[in-house]
Symmetry: C2
Amino acid sequence: MNSVGIDIGGTKILIVLIAQTGKIKKSVQIPTTGDPPAAVLDRILSQLKSFEKFGSIGIGIAGDVDGINGILRFSPNLPKWKNVRLKKYFEDKTGITAAVDNDANCAAYGSYVLDGKRKYKNFIMITLGTGVGGGIIIDGNLYRGATGTAGEIGHITVNPKGPKCSCGNYGCLETYTGAKGILRLWQSKKTAFHIPPPSYSPKRRISDMQKGGGITPAIIAELARKNNKKAQTVFNEFSEYLAVGVSGIINIFNPDMISFSGGISNGWDLFKKVFFRELKKRSFSTPFSHVKIIKSGNSKNLGAIGAAFLSDKRLQR
Amino acid sequence: MNSVGIDIGGTKILIVLIAQTGKIKKSVQIPTTGDPPAAVLDRILSQLKSFEKFGSIGIGIAGDVDGINGILRFSPNLPKWKNVRLKKYFEDKTGITAAVDNDANCAAYGSYVLDGKRKYKNFIMITLGTGVGGGIIIDGNLYRGATGTAGEIGHITVNPKGPKCSCGNYGCLETYTGAKGILRLWQSKKTAFHIPPPSYSPKRRISDMQKGGGITPAIIAELARKNNKKAQTVFNEFSEYLAVGVSGIINIFNPDMISFSGGISNGWDLFKKVFFRELKKRSFSTPFSHVKIIKSGNSKNLGAIGAAFLSDKRLQR
């Protein structure tokens, strides 16, 4: 049976229809807008009317989710969304079973199916984006923890005297390996960077970089690929801290697979060498040799696809 | 039905007979000796002959265990024990189902049953002893990881530039909160400590302490209780690093309960205040508010008891 997966983000909503094989049969994207949840949900529903038959609906959404009752408690990115009974809404309107999970959990489950082919039963996904998040699959099942907050891998402390994190702690993995962390590392380096050749970068961008404004992790990555020393130093430091955090994950979870997603994971070619070197130093040898570590090949729609898979899995129980 | 639990340590072996209620009906301790495994196992077996009827045998042993096949691959504390087929030995000799697990996993499961009464389904045990170990219960089941190495909580990095750990990494939780870690913290403090009153401590012990030899974590704990500033500073630093590690555990696992065991956990009265203060600062608030953190009330025989419970649980499947 087909399943529907819906990834509700702060700015856009992705709706996919997938076959049981995992093949995407249809994909629709609509803006989230600042409307009240009821209006937004009605718009999602009207989209579903054009979909061919499906047997379950999965909803992934950023925020604090009560996965058992299918309620979004609150979401930092969707200020009007408080205690929204998403499961009840979709089940009442469609008569079809619905399941709700945190978007990072959905993405992890999506990667477990698409990247790991359900073969790697103990599976960790780490999302390197604006923030650093994660999801945990234990013995083939999504692990949500006691209150649905499990998997906050970005908030392991990797340096107890490190910079303050948005969560209130100091030196979280996120403060070194999230987008802001990379920019902070860049700004903390005194070394001048040489300006890349004009063929590579438009004037405006370089001027932005020189002022220290307009710089992005993607630009730092491009500079590093052009042998800019400062940018390479940033990625080396990033890699070392990533290894500090991930070695802890390996020693605690002894997982079969770790998959990276998120925009920053596009720097995989830049960081994997130092990352693996440091990881090997810091991890127990048996679990290190066992674990397969990859960059997800399916980053883009993982949240929506994973939500669909998860809703279908719940049906099977 | 009764179960037998056997905890094979480097110096002694504890054998218990427990009722399904968890009540210990019999307890025997014998020395491990340096004999080859066959001789040691025969001595255990001869003890079992005097036990009343039981339905399963659980064996907990320190080292690298293949829990599926019930084989001890190797054990740092038992150099002669290599690839010992413990499950097969006991099943062949007794005709009764046997199960083998790492001793830290057994202790975790014992605490899950005895301290948590099987109510706290996502449960973490942290053993603060010579080393720092751990065990993980997920949804009421022991989590062993892909190669049976899961739960090495002592080997999360809490300070990437910290002291070298026996595992090869730097700044592991164990280097601050294991017995050696505490002694290292003590020796690193320049502050003189005042000699406690004669009523408290024999001359020999104080003299030992002054020389910096003969000091033990237990003595440092006693000194801290007598308001010795240096000893208190040691426990404060210990507490801060413990909080760094445990906050990571809370943010990743979102557990229902964390239980501490091991000799160092007897300093609970000394470290819990600073530990909880730092832990609150560093953890996400919802999982921090939810998790119940205790010192195990059953530290002593947890390994043997947990092994028995685990073997009985396997029978139930």
